[in-house]
Symmetry: D2
Subunit: 326 residues, 4 copies
Amino acid sequence: MTKIKKIAVFTSGGDAPGMNAAVRAVVRTASYHNLEAFGIYRGYEGMIDGRIKPIAARDVGNIIQRGGTILKTARSMRFKTPEGRKQAYENLKEAGIDALVAIGGDGTFTGAQVFSQEYNIPIVGLPGTIDNDIYGTDYTIGFDTAINTAIEAVDKIRDTADSHSRLFFVEVMGRHSGYIALHTGIGSGAGCIFLPEYDTPLDELVDVLKKANDRDKMFNMVIVAEGNRSGNAMEIANRLNEKYDGYESKVTILGHMQRGGAPSCRDRVLASRLGYHAIEVLLKGESNVALGIINDELCLTPFQEAISQAKKPKSSMLEMARILSM
Amino acid sequence: MTKIKKIAVFTSGGDAPGMNAAVRAVVRTASYHNLEAFGIYRGYEGMIDGRIKPIAARDVGNIIQRGGTILKTARSMRFKTPEGRKQAYENLKEAGIDALVAIGGDGTFTGAQVFSQEYNIPIVGLPGTIDNDIYGTDYTIGFDTAINTAIEAVDKIRDTADSHSRLFFVEVMGRHSGYIALHTGIGSGAGCIFLPEYDTPLDELVDVLKKANDRDKMFNMVIVAEGNRSGNAMEIANRLNEKYDGYESKVTILGHMQRGGAPSCRDRVLASRLGYHAIEVLLKGESNVALGIINDELCLTPFQEAISQAKKPKSSMLEMARILSM
Amino acid sequence: MTKIKKIAVFTSGGDAPGMNAAVRAVVRTASYHNLEAFGIYRGYEGMIDGRIKPIAARDVGNIIQRGGTILKTARSMRFKTPEGRKQAYENLKEAGIDALVAIGGDGTFTGAQVFSQEYNIPIVGLPGTIDNDIYGTDYTIGFDTAINTAIEAVDKIRDTADSHSRLFFVEVMGRHSGYIALHTGIGSGAGCIFLPEYDTPLDELVDVLKKANDRDKMFNMVIVAEGNRSGNAMEIANRLNEKYDGYESKVTILGHMQRGGAPSCRDRVLASRLGYHAIEVLLKGESNVALGIINDELCLTPFQEAISQAKKPKSSMLEMARILSM
Amino acid sequence: MTKIKKIAVFTSGGDAPGMNAAVRAVVRTASYHNLEAFGIYRGYEGMIDGRIKPIAARDVGNIIQRGGTILKTARSMRFKTPEGRKQAYENLKEAGIDALVAIGGDGTFTGAQVFSQEYNIPIVGLPGTIDNDIYGTDYTIGFDTAINTAIEAVDKIRDTADSHSRLFFVEVMGRHSGYIALHTGIGSGAGCIFLPEYDTPLDELVDVLKKANDRDKMFNMVIVAEGNRSGNAMEIANRLNEKYDGYESKVTILGHMQRGGAPSCRDRVLASRLGYHAIEVLLKGESNVALGIINDELCLTPFQEAISQAKKPKSSMLEMARILSM
């Protein structure tokens, strides 16, 4: 095994708060171990375009609290082709890169795994996505910040819902994953929560609304994950209005603010730990693994397993949410 | 003129952060002047339904920092009818109410003016709406909080826009008024701002985008007031995509979170001053006027004038915004 | 075993964000199981004074997002005496209370344990304190919010530290516990962190400052737990100034803001889960145990063990923090 | 008069949120007028050290939302000497600087005025300080953000004060100026506010506390400006405890977080307007003036007047605060 002297780090796929903290940890830990660190700008696209630049310990000062990613990100179609990956590898070789740290979600890990098998370059992955749906870690970098962003928005919506005694549908991110919706739903005391992983029939919502009405409860919040199978927030709201008169409802789609903002303390600590261990793990000769923290301990999961295994929120938490909202 | 002994306060129309602070100031100042204060719940609707209850100084403790309104609000169709207003007046008489403080927007003032002419009951109004479009005051209660809420959301969106080098359209509230859009636009360094009061041609946006491209500027924010005449955020985004290829744009509609949240310090101070002066002004025999703060001084504007006169943001500020974004 | 029909809940000791969410969960779950819920105001003091009142499901609506505790809290000297506890028990009997849920820290659990042994009344405890130092749970209710509050304050201090190139000492809460200091330190990229559990010599701080100077690093943050054995923030700053010239340092003590504020999403979810399980656990006949969540699973720890066992932050995290700050 | 082709901007004295937005506006407007912009790092100190670098429109992208100042700041003893100023002038001449924009407080304007009289170089000033005590403008850049930071901290302290029924003293910034204390006091419903400009006798505080006790009001907040003539928060708290038993009070000093943080929307708009007009005003041949916004209009005030005239909060607002807190 080649002794590692130069490592490169990049962020890929959707961005998530805490990615900068992870990049900082990777670069600072590399510096501590006397390695040269490089940043690849715009993920796999940048790797193909040769956008590889040295990044020193001092370049990552004062970024730990910043949302977004200083290395930018992009979705890359070209990296899905053997030609694209060949070009990427040649750029890495030319820069003398010995190992890679990839920060992103399942798509990033998929690319990393394929690349790692085609070319003999050690690569490890850090789970960076607000969706929290990556197997091999309790929490992904960005999730905690996203649920706090969502809960703060819902708190404000609650003020106006309460003033007007309205029914409010709030759609949160989560194309395939209901973690954000579940946590935001519990944290806002929502009467009903719609997740992609579980089918919540419309009648359940109607039932909740009726019970609330009986109790003279003035308003109600419904949280809907964007990827909910029976429809997004707007669709559910419309179906409710069609079927049952009398509900003056409003729909808010939180949108892309959930991806940004200063990372929460937990996201900074998680990102720091994972970035720190990434270097240590590479120096021990590991490759083709995703790092994660499970039960407060570092865990390594082969990319193949991280990609193919699923993780979903507990349905018992949904049950609890229902009881607590009445 | 009857000596005023019992006053009632209510909030009406759309809610705004700072309404609670205003209610608190009205009640506390009434108490200081040994008046009995009553709260009318759910605005004019509640006045018709007789939902009038005493409210003591201690009932308004600890609400100054809360968004929404403890008196709730509602839009009332019935108050637009003479029968509805007659019922309302009878309820007030039965409760012995001598004077009213109405907190809301133009709709609230319109109702107050009609009521005040039909029935001989002194009534003054405080400008409570996030839109800032009420004539007779530099700022309305709720505007400052709303622009801060909007700017915080846009800051988060900016993180992800910057990471992905995208074009982002953000729609803010303002059905007839561009104040929120203008301030949010300047405060976020937006490349283009669409207001209801001024026609911004699509070509101007295209021009901004071209110039940005020439400068290698990576992302761009466009702020659109919901009542923009040439279309809301989604419509403008679609027209842009149809006309010109190559813009990967996203649209976020901030929605109802702009109405809620803990009021900013300025909104608390403004609301406190207006609520405080409302009682003093009533005790001096004033009626049928809207209170406002202009140039840091209390101003009284007859409801008729407050309703009929318009106020709009300076177009010079739009010009400045354009220059600063390049 | 008496069938449980009436339960009472109270908060005791220092308050923590999320206590209201826990109270809400207890009351709503009790209601779901057709139990009558009572609130005891001002903790053990209130129990002795007989301040026990029914609390219905609707009384806890809209409190999940509020800091502080609607049941108030107090430190009670009288409860440490047999007479005090006797009076408390008589009040409970008179109200017909069958079981208790105590929310607080070690002091609360100590009182609960003694009480539970003296009188045959089932009582369980929920860990509510910002210090995170309670054994038997990964996180305590309030910790996550506190570290976010601290990190937001430190982010603001960082802006001014960076502008002026100064050395800043920030003191955070934690009389016996360094969790807040450690997480805030890592999350702010602090050059040095002083915890009560580990002795950090002053020379280490000097060393960090020298290295930073060599790198032309402009400013530095030092986080100090209030209970640090070698001195609090002011004391360390003074010793540094005495020993070594040239450090223009400022000291900020974050103080009591760390105890308040709207609970974070995680604190709301944690509090909800624990409050929910508290009722279930009582109905199963448990008593004299503290509830906690360990590895995402509910854990019951006898009060004796929860009180006598200690929990402290990993020293390896301190080591990592040092490396990442250079 | 020399045609202006190169302008330099710097920030000096205490930093304030919004300074970056002002720098951005100066640079972007200069660029629009085809002027070359330079940044002087570390204020007058940097001017003496020759730390003058070109700053392009693109260098100020993405800083509008950031607290602190990218140009850093410093207090300069050397600039108070003729030799220091001579060196500064020579550096400016060498760089070909034709005009200066100085952003800071009274100290900055004093230096600017002296410099402008000694050497024939046009210089204008923008009021940047959180204290809001600069004559010639309704609000200074940074004040609005600071009062929001203070009010958010006080809101959190209020949660714990309310839970424990305590008396809380909160000290805010304002060595000579009571604006922050007054606005924070009104916005938090404080029972008593201590400002540097007005003497509030201790007996008044005692009176407020007695009245509150009579009303069974559970807690009380007292806001103290650090420069209050009769003592800071700690001193007042101690005198109260000595003189009158029975008040369990806590003291929090908010400290330097008040200087930092992302600027509020109003501060960004104010800073943008002032920075924009600075260039326009220089191009019209103005010099030796401070810019300000009074009644929403641009105002120019000769440095001499801006420095010698004072501005202080209205005592009527203190009176109102007292009434509203009971």
